[in-house]
């Protein structure tokens, strides 16, 4: 493989396989590796990435210990996250916090557009009609700050959906489909298609 020693246009794979130690060759390899950063960034932003779950709002589905020492690592599926019709009731989603655009929260979808929800304490009204292209999201933990605080959230805020937990290997696999308040009990006018 030493024949590709001086070659300018050689793939990264062949370069690592060749294992040369020439300064110019190394520099060229590093520059070539840097050109792949936008591709990785595209995959991370729009296809799939992993994320560390922080906080206890999805306990016991995610972070069941809630002591802050063991944090779950989940697979964030980002492809098609703006497609409203692709969501099912009970999906766990990552969305931008409506109150703080730089932070994200993990919640479970309870209701879809056109449905009426029986709200919980911090919400000013007893019921709320979910506007078009919006979700009503709630955490599995009763103490979570969710749509009962900031109202229905637009699907445009959703950045990813979570189906699998990766890291504590003891709980590796699909996450629970249900959690939190039962949608059958709190959603009025539920559309059976979801």
């Amino acid at each position: 493989m030493s024949s590709i020693r001086g070659a300018a246009f050689t793939s990264l794979f062949r370069r690592f396989k060749a294992n040369n130690s020439n300064f110019a060759y190394t520099t060229r390899t590093i520059v070539l590796a840097l050109t792949w950063i936008p591709v990785v960034a595209y995959v991370a932003n729009h296809q799939v990435w992993i994320g560390v779950i922080d906080g206890s709002s999805m306990t016991p589905t995610l972070n069941p210990e809630s002591n802050g020492l063991v944090r779950d690592i989940a697979l964030l599926w980002k492809s098609g996250s703006k497609n409203y019709n692709s969501y099912n009731r009970g999906d766990v989603v990552v969305l931008r916090n409506p109150r703080d655009p730089e932070s994200s929260v993990v919640k479970r979808i309870v209701a879809f557009e056109g449905e009426t929800v029986r709200t919980r304490f911090p919400y000013p009204e007893p019921v709320c009609v979910v506007p078009p292209y919006h979700f009503w999201v709630e955490g599995d933990n009763i103490h979570s700050v969710d749509s009962n605080t900031y109202g229905p959230v637009s699907c445009g805020l959703v950045t990813a959906r979570i189906r699998y937990v990766l890291f504590p290997f003891s709980r590796f696999g699909k996450i629970a489909v249900r959690g939190g308040r039962d949608p059958q009990a709190i959603v009025i006018g539920m559309k059976s298609a979801r």
Partner: protein
């Protein structure tokens, strides 16, 4: 692997990398894109205007102030972007006046309910813009579907600020000289507090 196949794969990988870099540039740094519609009419033409979108400094509502024109994902529909002017920042008190019953965008045979999404609980009330939200209004109030209809918009939906716009008609070879949009208000009174302080100073003899 034959050299022709390798050559093809290399070309594809170059295309992939350039495409990804362009996408990264467009989503995070800068975009020049066509805009249209009646809602910003005196400021932006209904047809043929293109806007410069500054995303690096203003993505997700960073450094946004009253008077700025922003591009934003529409909260109530999919794959739609809106261009509106920021009329209220978090903590400001705004008057949520009702949408016009008949406007330039509602046709005679088009029911009002089809234009306005639902019964609006905010209509005719003074409300405080929540934390992390902005109040967006179109410059053409009679033909604009904006925060009066769908309420305060989360800052996370803001894609970027529009500092300039230029006209590029189908018969023009090159876009016109960019004209400034929206930052004239910022220099005089950027926030409600500052405005009220100025008014107080005016009457403090």
């Amino acid at each position: 692997m034959s050299s022709q196949v390798r050559q093809l794969l290399y070309s594809l990988s170059i295309g992939l990398r350039i495409g990804a870099a362009m996408h990264l540039l467009h989503t995070n740094i800068f975009e020049f894109s066509p805009t249209g519609g009646l809602s910003m009419l005196p400021t932006i033409r209904a047809l043929g205007d293109h806007v410069f979108v500054d995303k690096l400094r203003h993505r997700r509502g960073k450094n946004i102030d009253v008077g700025d024109v922003v591009i934003c994902s529409k909260p109530t529909s999919e794959n739609t972007r809106i261009c509106k002017r920021v009329a209220g920042m978090p903590g400001d008190i705004v008057y949520a006046n009702a949408m016009p019953r008949y406007s330039a965008t509602t046709l005679d045979d088009m029911p009002y309910e089809a234009f306005v999404s639902q019964e609006n609980p905010r209509a005719g009330k003074y409300i405080r813009v929540p934390e992390g939200h902005v109040w967006l209004l179109g410059d053409n109030a009679t033909a604009s579907l904006d925060s009066r209809d769908y309420g305060p918009v989360p800052m996370a939906l803001i894609i970027g600020e529009v500092p300039f716009a230029s006209f590029w008609g189908p018969w023009d070879f090159w876009p016109s000289m960019p004209r400034q949009i929206g930052s004239n208000v910022r220099s005089s009174s950027s926030s409600m507090e500052e405005y009220l302080r100025k008014v107080d100073n005016l009457f403090a003899f």
